[in-house]
């Protein structure tokens, strides 16, 4: 039995400790916002936060998450209102949308650590997340927009 806290809720998971965290999150906890894309830490579709770091859950064993705090896309905000989600919605970023959970989880770490990222910072943070539909230009713009929204939110 492995105890993991996901989006603030404690779960006791009875599974192979070597099972990738991704499959525990999706198939056992039923949180399917986190996606399978490559199984090789190449595409970032499976990105979740482990103690605040945007790990690739497809290559992270369940055992690493034991006793740790996991946040998935479902827990990024209370009501789809993280500044990044607001910016993504405002700027019509997604196409098929499959990669966007991972994109948002990666961008959330960037924005937390750097409230005013440059294009270079965005490249450095986001090149681990593939979008086959090619929404990179919009993701870039939406991260800048979210930085603005976060600043406005902080002022008000």
């Amino acid at each position: 039995m492995i105890t993991v806290t996901v989006n603030g809720q404690r779960h006791d998971i009875d599974a192979d400790p070597n099972m990738p965290l991704l499959w525990a999150i999706r198939d056992i906890l039923g949180l399917t916002g986190t996606k399978y894309g490559c199984g090789a830490a190449q595409c970032g579709a499976c990105t979740v936060h482990l103690n605040g770091e945007s790990i690739r859950s497809c290559c992270t064993k369940l055992s690493r998450a034991a006793g740790q705090q996991i946040i998935t896309i479902e827990g990024l905000s209370a009501n789809n209102n993280h500044p990044l989600q607001l910016a993504w919605n405002e700027m019509n970023v997604p196409q098929c949308g499959y990669c966007q959970s991972g994109q948002l989880m990666s961008a959330a770490v960037l924005l937390r650590e750097n409230p005013n990222p440059t294009d270079q910072d965005i490249d450095d943070a986001m090149s681990g997340n593939i979008c086959r539909c090619g929404t990179y230009q919009r993701i870039r713009a939406a991260i800048h927009r979210a930085a603005d929204l976060a600043r406005e939110g902080a002022k008000s």
Binding site: A40, A41, E53, C59, R64, L110, D123, D124, G128
Partner: protein, 202 residues
């Protein structure tokens, strides 16, 4: 004539290096005293150098601020950056993908608890360094993380992340000699005087 000048310069520099070695004689009490031997020392270092320049070692000691991958030393896909602490930036921290151990399978992320590059303030570049440059750099506490020679030997012989190079996981070529042989060559290099190869050594 040229050769002679070159040789004398080398001797001058190695004598400085040898001088600094004298600062730590205490531990050597029980060891068989090895006579300083610049030729033997350089020879040992050249073996060490081949290991350090092998992909398993050099890929995380790049000239730039991006780690390398593969036996062709290409820049790490997804444009990974060193970061201040050598462990990446933002959502691209090393441990976001690299686990405490190798993921099983070809091309899956290799792993180690300490996975990372040297930090930005102590970059310890291997890539592009000549044998001479690398030897001097390794011996310079200002560039080697403040390590004494004993600590340098210990790092090469016992450090867990260094040791990963000999357990790199499926599909990755090994350094050109065993770790034990490598450690022995490091010891020999230093014991024989820690001489740096000449500027033309390749």
């Amino acid at each position: 004539m040229k050769k002679l000048i070159f040789l004398s310069i080398m001797l001058a520099i190695t004598s400085i290096v040898a001088l600094s070695f004298k600062a730590e004689p205490a531990k050597k009490k029980n060891r068989v005293t090895v006579v300083k031997d610049s030729i033997g020392s350089v020879k040992a270092f050249m073996s060490v150098y081949k290991v350090l320049m092998s992909p398993r070692c050099m890929n995380c000691h790049p000239a730039g601020d991006q780690p390398l991958q593969g036996d062709d030393n290409h820049i790490h896909t997804m444009s990974v950056k060193r970061g201040v602490d050598g462990h990446g930036v933002y959502s691209m921290r090393c441990s976001n993908c690299h686990q405490a151990e190798n993921d099983p399978g070809v091309h899956l992320p290799p792993g180690n608890p300490k996975w990372g590059l040297p930090p930005a303030n102590m970059r310890m570049v291997f890539q592009g360094r000549t044998p001479r440059e690398l030897a001097l750099q390794l011996l310079d506490p200002k560039q080697n993380g403040g390590r004494t020679k004993a600590q340098l030997i210990d790092h090469m012989a016992n450090d867990g992340l260094v040791g990963w190079a000999w357990h790199p996981g499926i599909g990755r070529t090994l350094p050109p000699m065993t770790r034990a042989a490598f450690a022995a060559q490091v010891r020999l290099w230093i014991a024989k005087g820690a001489y740096a190869p000449g500027a033309k050594a390749k």
